[in-house]
Every structure is written in C-alpha cells, then in structure tokens.
Point group: C2
Chain length 373, copies 2
C-alpha cells in the first residue's frame, strides 16, 4: 500500500505522576523524529482518551512543529492504533506525505481519585467495568473447559518474563504460575498479576511513502473495524468476532495467513484477553489458546512469540499510547533492534488492539496491522 | 470535489442539564438521517471536546448504527468542523460513501464546577482564558482606533435579533447598543451580552458523493489549517492570519472571492471575534469590520448577512456541536428552508470556525468551508 514507518519512539511506561503528558510525549516524539531521518512532518494524528484539550498542540509547539494540521482521535484502548490507521490512510491516499503519529496518556494522577463514572456510563453505573467483564469471559471459558486457571496464569508468567528484557516496561518479573494465582484477587478468576496496570506513557511513529532505506518498515495492511452490542446469542465471548473479522480482513489485504506471521503484539489487557485473541487471530482453534501458551509456541523464543515486549500486562497500558507502543515493538523486532529480547528472525509482524467496553455496551473498535521488514 | 450534504439536523441549543449528551445527539442524528433520505451510513466522524469515552458509540448504538467505524475527533472549538472536514475528505477520496458527521457537547453541568484548569494548561494557570484573551484583542482594536465600543455592541445587537427567528437558539432578544454596553462586565471591554454562553447541544449531517437530488447542498471547498504561537511581532491580533490564510485557500479551492458569498456563519465567540473575522475573510479591510456591521451590510437582510442563525453569541456554543450547527444553518439557507430568517436568495455560503487558545499558546485550528446550492 506504499506506506512505510520511518521511525518510532517512546517514553518510559509506568506511573509517572511527576511527569507532564507533554514531557512524556516530547521524549517519544523526539526519538521518533531522530529515528525517522525526516524533518518535514506535515500533519499529526494523536491518539488519547483522557488527554486534556490542547495537549497535542502543546506537544507539537514544544518540538517546533506548530502550524501543521493536528487531529486528536479518541477510540478507547484502540486510540493509538486508530490514529496510526488514519495516518496510514492519509499517506496511502496521498493526502499527507510525512505524518507523525502520537499516542499519549497520563492517567495515574487522575485515576487516583478524580475520575468517576459519567452518569451516562452504563458500564460504570452497573459496575461492569473492564476487570469484571474480562472476568466474566474468563469464567465462561473456565466453565466450558476451554482454558485452565494455570493456562491463564501462564500468559502472565510469559509476559512478565518477556518484560525483563524491556527497560521501558512498567513491570517485569520471574514469576511462577503459583505466584500469579496467589496474587491478590481483583475479579475472580483474574488475580492482580493477570490485570494490566494503570500507566502513564507516550509513543510515536513517523510515516511516509515507501523509500530506499533499509531501516524503514513497510505497512503491508491496516484494518479498522467496529463492533456493536454484545450479542448474547453468540457462542463466543465478547470481542471474539470483532477481532476475528478484523484479522481476517487484514490477512486478506496482506495476502498472508496467521502461520506466516513471525511475531505478534496483541491486546492482553487481562490474561484471558491474550488467550481469546490468539484464537481469534487464527493461531489456534477456540479452546486452543491455553494449550498454545502452555506449549511454548508463543514464548519469546517459540515459533510465534506473542507480546515479546511484555504486552499490556507488563509494559503497561497508557490507553492512547498502547497501540503506538505495540507498533514500535514490532518495528524494533523487524529491524533486529529489540535488544535482549530480539528474535532470531522476523520478517512479518502483526499488531492487534481492541478498544471499547468489552461487553460491547458502548461498541468496540479493533485495529489489526501487518508490518513487514 | 464531488461531495454533497444530504441532510442536516440538530437538537435545541441551551443549558439542558437534564438531557444526556446521547439524548441531544439522538435528536440531531435522527433528524439528519430522515432529512438525508439515505440509510446506508458507513462511518461516523464525531467532534467533541469534553465528551465522555464511548459517547459516540452509545449514540450510534441507540439509533441502530452500531458496527460502523467511528472516529471521535477533538480540536477545541473547531471540533465539529474538523470532523466535517475529515468526512468530506473521506468521501472525496472514495474511502466512505455515506459518513455521518456529529457534533456533540454537554458542558453546562461540568462547567458548573467540576472542570478546573489542568496543571499543564498555561491559559488556565495564567488566567488568560478565552474571555480575557478576546478582551485583549478588543482592547488593542479600541486603542488603535480600529473599532468603537458601539460597533462591538452592534454585533451582539444584530446576532441576538437574528436569533429571534431561530427557535433552536439559546438566547435571543431585541437589544439596544446601550443595553449591550450596560450588561455586566466580563472582561473589559467585553460585557455579558458580548460573550457566547455555556451551552449543551448536538448537530449532525450526512454526506455523500453528488447525486441527482434538488435538496442536496454541494461542498465546493473545505480547508483545515492550524496555526502556532501568537506571534507578538505580528501587526494583527491573534487568529487574524490563520483565518485569513485558511479563507484564502478555501476561496482559491472554490474559485470564488468573498464578494461572491451570499451568507456567512462565522466564529463570533465574542463580538470582537466577528469583527476581526469579517476582516480576515476579506469582507472589509483591517479596521473596516466595525463599519461593516454599522452599515447594515452584514445584517439579516443586508447584502451579505453574517450569522443569520444568531451565531455563537445567541444560538449558543456547545463546543463540538458548533461547527456542525453552522453547516446546518448554511444548508438551511441555501435550501430556502430557514423559516422566518430565510434570505431572499442564497446560492453560496461560507462557514468559518476557529478553535484553540486565542493566544495561540496551544496552537489554533481553523476550518473554512464553502457550500453551494
């Protein structure tokens, strides 16, 4: 589709209440600009959920990029990849030649007390917030015998271990299945170590048409779809169909199948999320996701690593920044620049981000992108 | 550019704390869908500044439009026309064939106490909020003899009188210049009746490629530009250059000049705003905007009416909804369906929206659109 990623950057991820969102973003943007070897940025697509009005403009002002068109896009947890998708679309159509993509979120301060459910937020009012909803999916999977508690815990073990080699990750650790299962219960059956943390962070990328440069990474396909109500008639848990359909479109657009992908970054907001997503992505049959992680197939040095960065569970989940950080991880892996977690060989990578209430009460969004070295 | 507006709709504008944002939006969306005679909406572009996460998805869910791609776009006071511009671009490039544009804002409740300046918001911290910044521009104009207090007040007199014929406007009235000048001082020289109110409201439009239908209104040009720092070396007050440059691009794209436009909706957040904007739009020389309103040139039945709806000053200013409401007013006028405020003849109309801190500390955005019957 004649779109490449020229450069990527990110801040540290973690609880950083003393850092302003602008400071986090400047770190990410300056790294991406330097990496891109391109200084003629002509637009900015900024993904954020709780970013204050004008935050994107302040960031750009601070790095000498005032005056370019700026679009700030909110799409729940998929805000970052939604902004990325808009930038890809803009380059593909010739609308812009060098857009900056920025994902930014600074929520540790506000989540410490200031944010309350909106009166119209049905998830907030019912208490069916994300941990509870993911827990319902996990319970159903457990009840149907489609996964075991130990397999769920293994996702956390794997991703925390992967993050040991990621010095920008919020958390990491060499945990056992027992330690994961014995950590504090958040929403049965999901324990603390099976839930993504509250995070502050920023990530950035610079895009443009394909050019002769070894380090650029090609966008082979990018698909954005939205889902609706949680269909209680469905045989599947929430989100499964949306991820499956979005991935199917992306594979088709890229002329590949799941077996061709060397490395995945997927939306493991909770351990059950990675299990269901690997199934929806076609890496396993329904009910096969647990065995997939158990077998080591998705381990860092397995045949098809999933979340080598540590994923949302360990790298952290600053909402709007997450998708762009996923992009950065795949770019780093395809370039062979992922440091101590570098895979031996990776030519094709896939990013999947899921946004919106998992019950679909508010509708969901999903972005799947296939990248190629 | 082969893009038409098929239908428009809006809620009432005003302080409506008992109405949810979704309720306001449903009214606007259902009216626009009905008006458009098209039921195959394939995407939604939603402009809002303070809309809660998921509000766009809840609106679409409620009208049976779940599952289409949704982009929620924040761009300060230009959020609505930024969303409109993205939809226009999407239709022009063939990306979508029937996008819904929605502007939505519900702020009367939160502005009553809950919103405080963000720690990184330089405007909030310095107290240089919008009334103060517009007042500085007005003071400079007064000091340089480019406008009189009476001419400023005349903008308010005109727009409040125009709104008498707009039953969806928040405020209207048959005021005198003296009454405007004697209303409570907000930021010297701007009195209460010279400042736009806090408003809740929603407005919607349905777009698509041109087709054979009398009531459709053509988009002849749409331009989105961004500005940077308030350049203290400039001879002009804030925003002048940005509006001038955006309008110049729009006139060029539409192959028209300001003299060809029959009716204008412009960003009169404060009276000085309309004065400076009419100058930046080329309707008068710098310093001629006051005389323009004084002469009756921009009156409802003058040669080139400005803000026949009542403008932001009287119709109200629910941030994200404003730009789409401006579009609706011009569509209504071009169709001859503006009721008691219908102009005798209008073939070409122009919408201008300005967003962002007026001092440009945070960067500004401007959208100018030329519409044709």
């Amino acid at each position: 589709m004649n779109v490449s990623i020229y450069g990527v950057g990110s801040s540290l991820f973690g609880k950083q209440p003393a850092a302003s969102p602008e400071q986090l973003a400047w770190t990410a943007v300056l790294e991406a600009l330097d990496d891109a070897a391109a200084d003629d940025i002509d637009a900015a697509f900024v993904g954020t959920v709780f970013g204050a009005p004008g935050v994107a403009q302040r960031v750009l002002q601070g790095v000498g990029l005032a005056g370019i068109p700026v679009l700030t896009i909110a799409n729940a947890c998929a805000s970052g990849t939604s902004a990325f998708h808009e930038a890809v679309t803009a380059v593909a159509s010739g609308r812009f030649r060098r857009p900056l993509v920025l994902g930014i979120e600074s929520i540790s301060v506000s989540f410490a007390g200031a944010i309350h459910p909106e009166p119209t937020d049905s998830e907030g009012r019912t208490g069916l917030a994300l941990p509870g909803l993911y827990a319902m999916a996990a319970s159903r999977y457990l009840g149907l015998g489609l996964v075991t508690r130990e397999q769920l815990a293994l996702v956390s073990v794997k991703n925390h271990a992967n993050a040991l080699a990621n010095d920008r990750a919020q958390y990491s650790g060499d945990y056992t299945v027992e330690q994961v299962l014995e950590s504090r219960m958040i929403a049965d059956p999901l324990t603390l170590l099976q839930c993504c943390p509250v995070s502050d962070g920023a990530a950035a990328a610079v895009l443009g048409p394909e050019r002769r440069r070894e380090r650029d990474v090609k966008v082979r396909a990018s698909v954005h779809r939205a889902g609706g109500l949680w269909d209680h008639r469905s045989e599947h848990v929430w989100g499964y169909e949306l991820v499956r359909d979005t991935a199917r479109d992306a594979y088709e657009a890229a002329s590949v199948g799941p077996e061709d992908i060397d490395v995945f970054e997927v939306h493991d907001a909770f351990t059950i999320g990675e299990i269901v997503t690997t199934e929806a992505l076609g890496m396993a049959e329904v009910g096969g996701g647990g065995k997939l992680v158990e077998s080591g197939h998705t381990a860092l040095y397995g045949p098809q690593p999933v979340n080598p960065s540590g994923g949302l569970l360990s790298r952290g989940h600053p909402l709007g920044a997450t998708g762009v950080a996923q992009i950065k991880e795949i770019v780093d892996q395809l370039r062979g620049e992922a440091g101590d977690r570098q895979l031996a060989s990776a030519d094709l990578g896939l990013v999947e981000t899921m946004g919106g209430g998992v019950a679909g009460i508010d509708g969901n969004a999903c972005v799947v992108t296939v990248l190629e070295r």
